[in-house]
């Protein structure tokens, strides 16, 4: 049953432009709180650059800690955009309309945030960036393309560039709309960004075909990105990071956390911007069903990875698996992964009544991401923390206050950028929603008049 309301174009435009045209108290509170945390984040980065990575809990041999875990986490979140936008666009699922832009923009900002972490975790980024980007010409040094440290930036930069272009192209019609609904400097800005778009039939046609083409290409990039992130680990010589299942396992884990983050964002957008008529219960219902499938597939790969690690019966693998299962704090993290990542949310999502409960969906989606953050920690840190044959110095890893500030700050950074974006561009694509309205015209079937869109999803 469709729950779509039939509104006039003017009403839709007024409702969806509200975040741009009005600034609510909640917006200001958001800006101030997130801005404050962001200041602490910048201070922590500056502190670490000045004093060096010694101020963190990293040590020899545990070189990868909170920052790399956070990097993998945000790359994972970034997979929501393409999962939602591209797949639903290609399958022409009607329920994509209110969520595509938020998902794509979240992809963009979470990728930028993710990209920040491997750079800053080196402590002296200006001395290491030429590992990835060939700028140190005078010494004749070129990046080693056989290293995952080169493949990874190439994949992430491709994904980021593609996402920015994707977001821009699909926003051109809304820039044109904003051009006609604004004055002053905003009018000038939107006028330039709209490129003179007028809404000719040919321009719409190109817009839609480009959406399909980019969706298809972006899907190919999306699969490669988290696969290559998994190879950052798999290319090393450390035990337990070698399962061949890692690439698809990372991709599906990314989709699980990313789509959950979209649910969080949908609920926040509904509450903050009063989008009740656009982000409806049926959308949460549909995305909840998708999450049941994604979550279960992720759990399957998770168990498969454990199975492969134990199956080899390699002493080095066994030592780390022992640590993961029995040594503090890893059993607690494992409990978080299972309980928060799967066993509470997925059974809840199995029921339609719960899927349509927005508060419940919001909290379960948050839960999934707590579980998924714990999962990345559980995967990454023990691999380096174990004492190997040739490890001469060895200390357990304990995150310091600087790293904790950086992780908390990364959430503030993404939130702040999203809020800022919503002040400049409507977070729900207006033209897409209007198109949905046009397509939802009624048709005569026998004696009955029914909506032209037979099913919403």
């Amino acid at each position: 049953m469709q729950e779509r309301h039939s509104f006039s174009d003017e009403r839709i435009i007024r409702d969806l432009l509200r975040p741009v045209t009005q600034t609510s108290m909640m917006n200001w509170v958001g800006f101030i709180v997130l801005g404050t945390i962001l200041t602490a984040f910048l201070f922590a980065v500056g502190w670490m650059f000045y004093w060096g990575v010694g101020v963190t809990g990293l040590n020899r041999a545990a070189f990868w800690g909170f920052m790399i875990v956070n990097f993998v986490f945000w790359i994972g979140i970034s997979h929501a955009g393409v999962m939602i936008s591209a797949i639903l666009r290609l399958t022409q699922a009607e329920w994509r309309r209110p969520v595509t832009r938020a998902a794509e923009v979240m992809t963009m900002f979470s990728l930028m945030t993710a990209l920040l972490f491997p750079v800053i975790h080196t402590g002296r980024p200006w001395r290491t960036l030429y590992w990835a980007f060939p700028y140190d010409f005078w010494r004749g040094i070129w990046p080693d393309v056989r290293s995952a440290l080169v493949m990874d930036p190439s994949a992430i930069m491709t994904y980021l560039t593609g996402t920015i272009l994707f977001v821009y192209i699909t926003t051109i019609p809304d820039f044109a709309l904003l051009r006609d609904h604004s004055t002053g400097w905003r009018h000038g800005l939107y006028r330039v960004l709209a490129l003179g778009f007028k809404g000719e039939e040919r321009q719409w046609k190109m817009q839609i075909i480009t959406g399909f083409l980019l969706a298809a290409i972006m899907l190919s990039i999306f699969v490669s990105v988290h696969s290559i992130v998994s190879w950052d680990f798999a290319f090393s010589l450390d035990p337990v990071w070698h399962s061949t299942v890692w690439a698809p396992y990372f991709v599906i884990g990314a989709v699980h956390s990313g789509v959950s983050a979209v649910v969080t964002l949908m609920a926040l957008m509904r509450w903050m911007f009063k989008f009740d008529n656009y982000i409806r219960h049926e959308h949460f219902d549909a995305i909840g069903r998708l999450l049941v499938v994604v979550g279960t597939t992720w759990m399957w790969f998770f168990l498969l990875d454990i199975f492969f690690d134990l199956w080899r019966q390699d002493p080095a693998d066994d030592a780390i698996m022992h640590m993961r299962f029995f040594e503090w704090p890893y059993p607690l993290l494992l409990a978080f992964v299972w309980i928060f990542g799967y066993f509470i949310p997925v059974p809840i999502w199995a029921f339609r009544r719960f899927r349509r409960n927005i508060k419940l969906m919001f909290w379960t989606s948050i839960m999934v991401n707590i579980g998924m953050w714990a999962e990345r920690y559980w995967l990454v840190v023990p691999g380096l923390q174990a004492k190997y044959q040739w490890t001469f110095s060895w200390l357990p890893y304990r995150p310091g206050p600087v790293e904790i500030t950086l992780v908390v700050g990364s959430f503030a950074l993404v939130g702040f950028l999203l809020l800022l974006f919503a002040k400049l561009v409507p977070p729900v694509p207006v033209w897409d929603e209007l198109e949905g309205q046009h397509l939802a015209a009624e048709i005569q079937v026998g004696k009955r008049t029914v909506p032209a869109i037979v099913r919403e999803f």
């Binding site: 190439s154 994707f166 778009f197 007028k198 000719e200 190109m206 075909i209």
Partner: protein, 186 residues
């Protein structure tokens, strides 16, 4: 022949379709006028023809270029700085494939965007008749009429139910790349 733009602004879909039909009856072909809307309508609503385009070609050309650049960068980099690490061969194909794959897709995306802009004839910053009401849900019909027939086209649009008809003030040689002009109400 000098061409003059005539923009009819229609309040709803029915009158806009009537305007399209009236122009067709007057002998205008579908290429002679454009329908401007604030969102896409199902194809065929305004009787438009399919229209040739080469958008599909752009990502293919982009992919080929990206692949070639990827091959060049990965190959030349390894030859420019021949450092054997871990006993791996210098000209190592599997890692090259990964970067070539990313290069291929990156260029395909960039070329698709260029293709979209090219096929949509964007950017068109300082041109064209326009009425901001179209953004709010009105429908515009922009006729590229010859100088002699502009008034006739305007009268036809008005008869079909246009709420407002705007005539291009200055005469311009071509419809697509017209310079900035001011609109004059008919």
């Amino acid at each position: 022949m000098a061409v003059r733009g005539v923009l009819g602004v229609f309040k709803d879909l029915d009158t806009a379709i009537a305007g399209v039909d009236a122009l067709n009856e007057l002998g205008y072909k579908r290429d002679d006028f454009e329908v401007l809307t604030n969102a896409p309508y199902p194809e065929g609503t305004f009787g438009e023809e399919s229209g040739m385009h080469r958008l599909g070609l752009f990502p293919l050309v982009g992919a080929a270029c990206g692949f070639a650049v990827g091959l060049l960068i990965t190959g030349a980099t390894q030859m420019a700085y021949p450092l054997v690490t871990g006993g791996k061969p210098l000209f190592s194909i599997p890692p090259m494939i990964i970067i070539m794959y990313e290069g291929t897709l990156l260029a395909a995306v960039i070329f698709t965007v260029i293709g979209m802009l090219f096929e949509s004839r964007l950017p068109r910053l300082g041109s064209n008749l326009w009425d901001p009401r179209i953004s709010r849900g009105y429908i515009g019909i922009l006729v590229h009429a010859s100088e002699e027939k502009a008034d006739e086209a305007a009268a036809t649009l008005r008869r079909a139910g246009a709420e407002d008809v705007i005539l291009e003030e200055r005469r311009v040689p071509a419809p697509a790349r017209a310079p900035q002009q001011k609109g004059a109400r008919a």
